[in-house]
């Protein structure tokens, strides 16, 4: 905590406070009955988040989960930490406030494709740009779940839903590309169906200092069943998943049979079994690139012509918003001395009346 903030009111310390023992996933479960539909992809995500939290070695009271509105945004009720179920689309703003008041806490945002990319896009973008140390999980099921099945900004062009009986007429927004454009310092994609990759990505985000954005592909059993089958299904997984590894040549498919090359600044696939000599041409992933070019190129890959890229698109070191903010406060204090309220009130021309 920063030097100036007075600590919260003295409260009786707990006999065996969290801090004293190793926590488990159970510790992060609440007594609230989880209210998602049977088979909803959110369950798998919840489980992994709880698991990862337990592994971070921080007591429960130092975590805050902030969300907006949506099925996904019910998340905080199920995580036994501090939680704020906000209003639709505003979670990043609320979370930024939390972080600036308490830079010492671990603040997480849970949002959906509607909450975060329809009504809340503006807050999401500016939160990322500021690089406050927030972990932003966007559950993308490409549908409005809670309101029972209207299309969302990530729904495929032409999709028929309750509010688009003749099919949508809008290009879907690109979560990853949007986060990259917003200058986010950590941008990743993972999916509900791969607990291992999910946990790994969450952990990486948790370790990152700064705003971390994770798009989590999530199945809505009731209103958008199978939206991500191509990537999710074990059967087709290898063909359709491109796992990003910093510094590694970009390969995918069974045994990394296929690879990605650049042709006139556009991506192309090569079959390395057919043309092994082209291995040298493969694009090499660089999550630390100072240019958005590669990440943007990877973000746009999608089936059927390309696999879906999963993993960390970008990870950069940059001072966080709250560090810079507190830095200015410390700087000002150093320059002008410890605050004395009288001195403030009496600044400028004053005069005395006897």
């Amino acid at each position: 905590m920063n030097p100036l903030t007075v600590p919260p009111p003295e409260v009786p310390a707990l006999p065996e406070a969290d801090c004293l023992r190793q926590l488990t996933r159970k510790d992060f479960q609440t007594d609230q009955e989880v209210r998602w539909c049977p088979g909803c992809g959110d369950y798998a995500i919840l489980a992994q988040v709880q698991k990862v939290l337990a592994g971070l070695g921080r007591p429960r009271h130092e975590f805050v989960f902030v969300s907006g509105i949506g099925c996904s945004s019910r998340f905080p009720y199920y995580v036994n930490t501090y939680g704020f179920h906000g209003i639709h689309g505003r979670a990043p703003a609320i979370a930024t406030g939390v972080k600036c008041a308490r830079p010492d806490l671990s603040v997480w945002v849970v949002t959906g494709d509607g909450d975060g990319l329809s009504i809340g896009t503006n807050h999401l973008i500016h939160a990322l740009r500021r690089n406050a140390d927030l972990k932003i999980l966007l559950f993308n099921n490409r549908i409005y779940g809670l309101t029972k099945g209207q299309y969302s900004p990530t729904s495929e062009f032409g999709k028929r839903t309750k509010s688009s009986p003749l099919g949508t007429i809008e290009q879907p927004i690109r979560p990853i590309l949007t986060a990259l454009a917003a200058q986010a310092t950590f941008v990743a994609r993972t999916l509900y169906a791969d607990p291992g990759h999910l946990a790994e990505t969450l952990a990486a985000a948790a370790r990152h200092r700064g705003a971390a954005f994770i798009e989590i592909l999530q199945n809505c059993r009731v209103f958008n069943e199978g939206a991500f089958d191509a990537v999710a299904d074990r059967a087709t997984a290898e063909e359709n998943r491109l796992l990003l590894r910093h510094g590694q040549p970009i390969r995918f498919g069974p045994g990394g049979r296929r690879g990605l090359i650049l042709r006139d600044m556009e991506p192309a696939c090569v079959d390395l079994e057919a043309e092994p000599h082209r291995a040298g041409e493969l694009l090499v992933h660089n999550a630390a690139s100072t240019s958005p070019a590669l990440a943007a190129l990877l973000a746009e890959l999608e089936p059927p012509h390309f696999p879906t890229a999963l993993g960390i698109f970008r990870q950069l070191e940059r001072p966080t918003y709250e560090d810079l903010l507190m830095g200015q406060i410390r700087e000002a204090t150093a320059r002008r001395g410890r605050p004395d309220l009288r001195q403030l009130l009496e600044s400028g021309t004053t005069w005395v009346v006897e």
């Binding site: 903030t5 409260v11 805050v64 406030g97 008041a101 500016h126 309220l341």
Partner: protein
């Protein structure tokens, strides 16, 4: 030293109060000399009230009507309650300034003009067909034509500055002239110049010379045989400074947060006329002010609310259009019962309206502008200095009752300045929750303090109190989500009772005047000065009139009804179409009457005087 008295040929008249207006082009530095004059008047023991008149354009072409910048102040021996209905002295640096200001000048008032600026070109820009200095249209005023630019140039020669820079000193020439006219000493100002331009001796010298030149010109010219002295006033003892409403608001927020021992998180999005609060606070980081300039007002409200959740003093400032955008978040703050202070500096609406003009038309919105039953406290400051007290009180109530609070300031208060008696820091109440935090095992997010009905404030980072809140209806005590009918009824009622209960700790309203009478004027916010002055005049003339000013608009203070019923008639002057009147009528079923002025300008004292006269005649 009183050089004015050296010359026996000059007459010195005593005044109890006077109003002067400096008007010129945006570039002419009128705000500077105006505020300097205000400080001098204050130092001489007078009470002051000032109001700037900024051009509505950011930088209109020089010499145009749109480019006129004015600074009016009233000072006197008695308490000065408004910047004055009509200036007695007008300093006009160019034709446009004269054109704009003349209509408000007192009959027989003094007009000091820079004749050098009355060129055909400038006259045209000011839409003058003929030169008013020559066509006799200024008959009935005492005109003092002075070639200020020329005289300033001459006087500042020694400074060695280039002519352009020297010309820019003419505002100090005008000031010097005015100082003589009001028999004010030069010394303090010369000292101020030394401090101010320590780094640039040439400029200091030039301004000083210009100031002296103006003073001496006045002292010797045949045009001015009379000058005036406003005797010192009798302010309550203490240390004072000049503050605008926005400055006072910023100070009040910092003071409250410091006394509460918490960081101040001020999240805002720039908007006229609230931006100065943002600027003031941005420059006060050493007081642990965490300023967030957000992407919009919704984010600002959200960030301030998040900060409050996390234990900071969360505040956000805005004006009408921004308040409209904060509506939904205010509802969330009501449901989550978190301390959030919203400063709404009202301006003329609806919609974008007239951003630089004043109005009080956001009262009903503050009271009712949220979906569902979402009551919250609403406060309003009565004067620039009162903005400090009210901002402070807002923080105190927000934390004590765990509720969002709306403060209704306005454009007039925001920009107007007056003397602020600096409070004893240690005497300021410590804003704190109603009850100490319960032990963890007894804690429930919505278990209320029986006295205030406030829920406990236990913020993230506190071991053992982990809990979740949000916008869905809460179960009584546990705060869990529930759609139970009886619970909803109970919670709606509890939220309402909590706010209504604040009245119990409010002082009963003070009537200026007798407890009974013919006509009671009831007001809120910035109308205070004009109302108080008008009522005092009426009472001096023996009318049975009273004045009651509300600082708390929700809940209303206790014993308001008997106070109202003590008078035969009740009149509510407002810079809106009668919003407080609507509230009082509904609440007390009294035939309250409304005096409405919706012109983007504050009331003049005489406008209220006339209304009083009329009503009493009727």
């Amino acid at each position: 030293m009183k050089p004015g008295c050296t010359d026996p040929g000059r007459e010195l008249r005593e005044l109890r109060q006077s109003t002067v207006r400096f008007a010129g082009d945006s570039g002419d530095g009128m705000q500077l000399v105006g505020s300097q004059f205000a400080d001098l008047a204050s130092l001489s023991g007078c009470t002051i009230r000032t109001i700037p008149d900024f051009p509505s354009e950011i930088r209109a072409p020089a010499g145009t009507l749109a480019g006129v910048s004015g600074y009016q102040l009233s000072f006197g021996s008695e308490e000065v309650l408004t910047p004055g209905d009509a200036p007695f002295v007008l300093v006009a640096m160019n034709p446009a300034a004269l054109q704009v200001s003349l209509p408000e000048l007192q009959p027989g008032g003094i007009i000091i003009v820079d004749t050098d600026a009355f060129t055909p070109a400038n006259l045209a820009k000011a839409h003058y067909a003929a030169n008013p200095l020559e066509d006799g249209s200024l008959e009935g005023y005492r005109v003092v034509p002075v070639p200020m630019t020329t005289l300033t140039q001459e006087a500042t020669q020694p400074s060695g500055l280039p002519p352009g820079a020297r010309a820019r000193c003419k505002n100090f020439f005008a000031l010097g002239l005015t100082l003589w006219l009001y028999d004010q000493p030069l010394q303090p100002l010369l000292e101020w110049l030394m401090r101010k331009f320590r780094k640039d001796r040439a400029v200091m010298a030039a301004n000083g010379a210009s100031l002296r030149a103006g003073y001496n010109f006045a002292n010797t010219t045949e045009l001015l045989r009379i000058h005036y002295r406003v005797a010192p006033g009798r302010l309550p003892p203490g240390r004072y400074r000049r503050v605008t409403g926005n400055e006072a608001t910023a100070l009040g927020l910092i003071a409250a947060a410091q006394r509460a021992g918490r960081p101040l998180a001020y999240a805002s999005y720039p908007i006229t006329p609230a931006s100065e609060i943002l600027h003031e606070l941005s420059a006060r980081k050493e007081y642990d002010v965490r300023v967030l300039q957000c992407e919009d007002e919704i984010a600002a409200a959200g960030a301030a609310l998040g900060a409050a959740f996390a234990g900071a003093v969360g505040a956000t400032g805005t004006s009408g259009p921004g308040l409209s955008l904060k509506t939904e978040t205010l509802g969330l703050a009501v449901m989550t019962e978190l301390p959030l202070v919203v400063i709404n500096v009202q301006r003329a609406g609806p919609s974008t309206g007239m951003p630089t003009k004043t109005e009080q038309a956001d009262l009903l919105m503050a009271l009712y502008g949220r979906h569902g039953e979402a009551p919250l406290p609403v406060l309003a400051p009565a004067s620039p200095a009162d903005c400090f007290t009210v901002a402070y009180e807002a923080v105190r109530l927000a934390i004590r009752y765990m509720t969002p609070v709306i403060v209704l300031s306005d454009s007039f208060l925001a920009n107007s300045a007056e003397a602020f008696r600096i409070p004893e820091v240690d005497r300021l109440p410590v804003p704190a929750p109603a009850a100490p935090p319960p032990p963890p095992e007894a804690f429930a997010p919505y278990r209320r303090d029986p006295a205030t009905l406030a829920r406990p404030w236990l913020m993230p980072g506190t071991p053992g109190y982990e809990h979740r809140i949000g916008g869905l209806e809460k179960q009584d005590v546990t705060g869990l989500v529930t759609y139970d009918s009886a619970n909803h009824r109970r919670m709606v009622e509890l939220r309402a009772r909590k706010i209504a209960g604040i009245a119990a700790e409010l002082p009963p309203p003070q009537i200026e005047g007798e407890p009974r009478g013919d006509l009671l004027l009831v007001g809120w916010g910035s109308t205070y000065g004009a109302m108080a002055a008008a009522v005092r005049q009426a009472r001096l003339e023996g009318h049975r009139v009273g004045h009651l000013h509300l600082r708390h608009l929700n809940p209303l203070p206790p014993q308001l009804e008997p106070a109202l019923r003590g008078y035969r008639r009740v009149l509510v002057p407002e810079n809106n179409a009668g919003q407080l009147a609507t509230v009082l009528r509904s609440r007390y079923l009294l035939p309250v009457e409304s005096l409405s002025k919706v012109e983007g300008r504050p009331f003049l004292i005489r406008e209220i005087r006339n209304a009083i006269e009329e009503l009493l005649r009727a």
